[in-house]
Amino acid sequence: MRKFIALLVVMALIIGAMAGCATKTSQKEQQPSQEAQQPTQPQVTIKFWQAGGDTAGAAEKMSELIKKFEEKHPNIKVEYMAIPWAEEPHNKFQTAIVSGEVADLLIVGSPFDHVLASSGAIIPLDQFIDEELKKDLMDVFSREGIYHGKNKDLDGKLISIPMFGDVRTIVYNKDIFKKAGVPEPTESWTLEEFKQNALKLTKDGVYGFGTSGRYASQWLPFVWDKGGEILNQEMTEATITTPEWKEAWEYYIELINKASMPGSVNVNLAEIQKLFAQEKVAMFVTTQDYVEELMKDPNLKDKIGVGQMPHDKYQTAFAGADVFVITKQSKHPKEAWELLRFLVSTENQLEYCKTVGFLPAVKSAASDPYFTNDPVKKGFLQALEHGKFYVKSDKANGITTILRAEIQNAITGKKSVQKALEDAKQAIDLLLNS
């Protein structure tokens, strides 16, 4: 036993020594570079991490833009890193924050910016933003970038600015509509019209509205349309046992059971996309980058139409963005802002969005002919005007799991809609207060 303890002590000493060495060398490495630059300008190195950035060519384009930035700002050096979505970048950022090693500037997927704000890990951007950018930012983003929640220091403040946005709207196959004698979607079609069309289109092995009970983005706009919200404004309680929610879920469940393919309750989105490409689905809700892929198919190119979400009361569309945040741990927030500001300039926004196929964050880029002359891009930009983000709670992921399970229980008939909503509310309230 004594030997074992001795061994442990030795091990502890060695680990300690190794850790000590590590910090010493890194300090040594930093010092000379700072000294060397001091005569001219103080050299600042900022770290910039992007969650995702795994669209083809995206990370390369970003590196290119950063190089341009460094040429313009010789005193700022940027260490850029993109972490693919498959590697759970948000978890990595979180771990880095806990260990005090996080980067100065981050790009995260919304609503993770609000999660970071709740824990006080980021700083408000109001202190940096200029009038020009304020006016130029798309309305949806200046609306959704404002924090409301339990962190009173940030309440009502702008916490994030997107690098790019995306929105889900109706994409349809004109050919199938024509063959079924159904009029194409108008900009003001109602939920009833949408349902009737979807039912009429469902025949001969074609499904009118391909959808999946696995994703909140598929059904939430129908709830929003009636004025339903997941949580109350204080984010302390679920508000889902209202008649609006019941009505919206019943509406969606009828759609999924009558106008979507078998197995829709838990189908993967990729499968719906495949069925649409095979012309077995007439309409579905998807993002722009996927439609751009479809447009490459010469057989489909002329058949694809982009419509707006049907609406009765409030027109919405499920939107999201990959947004910049500046961390509280950053020692160079001003330089981080410089980089942010550079990347959301009209020219760079255009250049980046052309590569990745998403939508720009600023109006000046969105009004470029590249977007306005293209019916697909135009349709999505129009949908983005009505864009609404998912619930901005730090428990958003837990809420997603609960809502998914309960809507699936309601779709499969395991529970009544009322019971499913009540159970979901109970579970969400428990989650919020745990």
Binding site: V10, I15, G213, M261, S264, N266, G398
Partner: protein, 297 residues
């Protein structure tokens, strides 16, 4: 060997040190630390330092309906896969151990291929096969025989069994190989001893093969039970626990709590409950195996 020289002893420990270090940092420390964390509220999003809450995480689990559903599903999964896998594995091993069988190596390789394939990749293939939609291969085949298409992974009653089918198919080869080794270790003389007596093949199996395979069976049982209690990947890929909670297992629940809701304290508590259950089961199985030591003499 007894080491008397003190210097030599130090030398040995120095050689062992890298292994000890790796063990200490990557296994011992996380295991102990997660037990410690299971008594804390530790949401890595909302709070930066853990708060001691005593047994609250464990009480939360007892109250959480989803945890119990996931326990029930996991038990169903273990009971539904382990015996089937072992029965089929033994059957395959016996068939492939026949002296008159040709192309043995070929068949053995075929059975073993699924073991080598990545679980994620094969789960995706399985999803394509058991797709309940119009592109589902199995449903298309069934319809050729006039059988109504089934909901498979989209049906709350069939989702978990569909995953179980995959796991049985994938693990079969591994169990077969272990059983094959067990079978080949049984000396021929024992069979030769009864060759002149009027015994049926069934009697040979029941009185000679099965008892002599007992250590192999116990080994497979223990490892497979532990493995099956920890099923995660195919469910994560194929159903994400749905529809509803119908295919959520304990480790999926743990993952959701830890890495989607960031409730590390609760996730650690789940891990430790699972650990205790597995420990008890393993001790029981070990006792069982000790009680019936097998000898070839």
């Amino acid at each position: 060997m007894i080491v008397t020289n003190r210097k030599e002893k130090v030398g040995y420990y120095l050689f062992l040190l890298p292994a000890y270090l790796i063990f200490a940092v990557f296994i011992f420390w996380p295991v102990v630390h997660s037990l410690y964390l299971s008594f804390f509220k530790y949401n890595i999003v909302t709070i930066t330092s853990p708060q001691f809450v005593g047994l609250r995480n464990y009480l939360y689990l007892l109250k959480d309906e989803v945890f119990w559903i996931s326990c029930k599903n996991t038990l169903f999964f273990v009971i539904g896969t382990v015996p089937v896998k072992m029965f089929l594995g033994l059957l395959a091993a016996m068939l492939l151990n026949r002296k008159d069988l040709k192309f043995k190596a070929f068949y053995r390789t075929c059975f073993y291929i699924p073991v080598v394939v990545s679980m994620v990749a094969i789960s995706i293939v399985w999803m394509l096969l058991f797709n309940p939609g119009p592109n589902g291969v199995v449903n298309i085949l069934l319809s050729k025989f006039g059988i109504q298409p089934l909901g498979w992974i989209a049906d709350s009653k069939l989702a978990l069994p569909t995953v179980m089918l995959l796991v049985i198919w994938k693990d079969l080869g591994y169990i077969m190989v272990i059983y094959l080794a067990g079978l080949m270790a049984i000396p021929d003389e024992i069979y030769e001893a009864v060759a002149l007596d009027p015994v049926s093949s069934w009697q040979k199996f029941w009185y000679i093969t099965w008892p002599l395979l007992k250590p192999t069976t116990i080994f497979i049982l223990i490892t497979q039970v532990i493995d099956s209690f920890q099923v995660f990947t195919p469910i994560y890929v194929m159903t994400e626990g749905g529809p509803g909670y119908s295919s959520t297992t304990i480790v999926n629940y743990l993952y959701d709590k830890g890495f989607r809701e960031y409730e590390m304290g609760i996730a650690c508590a789940v891990a430790y409950l699972l650990f205790v259950v597995l420990l008890v089961l393993t001790i029981l199985q070990n006792k069982l195996s000790k009680a019936e030591e097998v000898s070839y003499d």
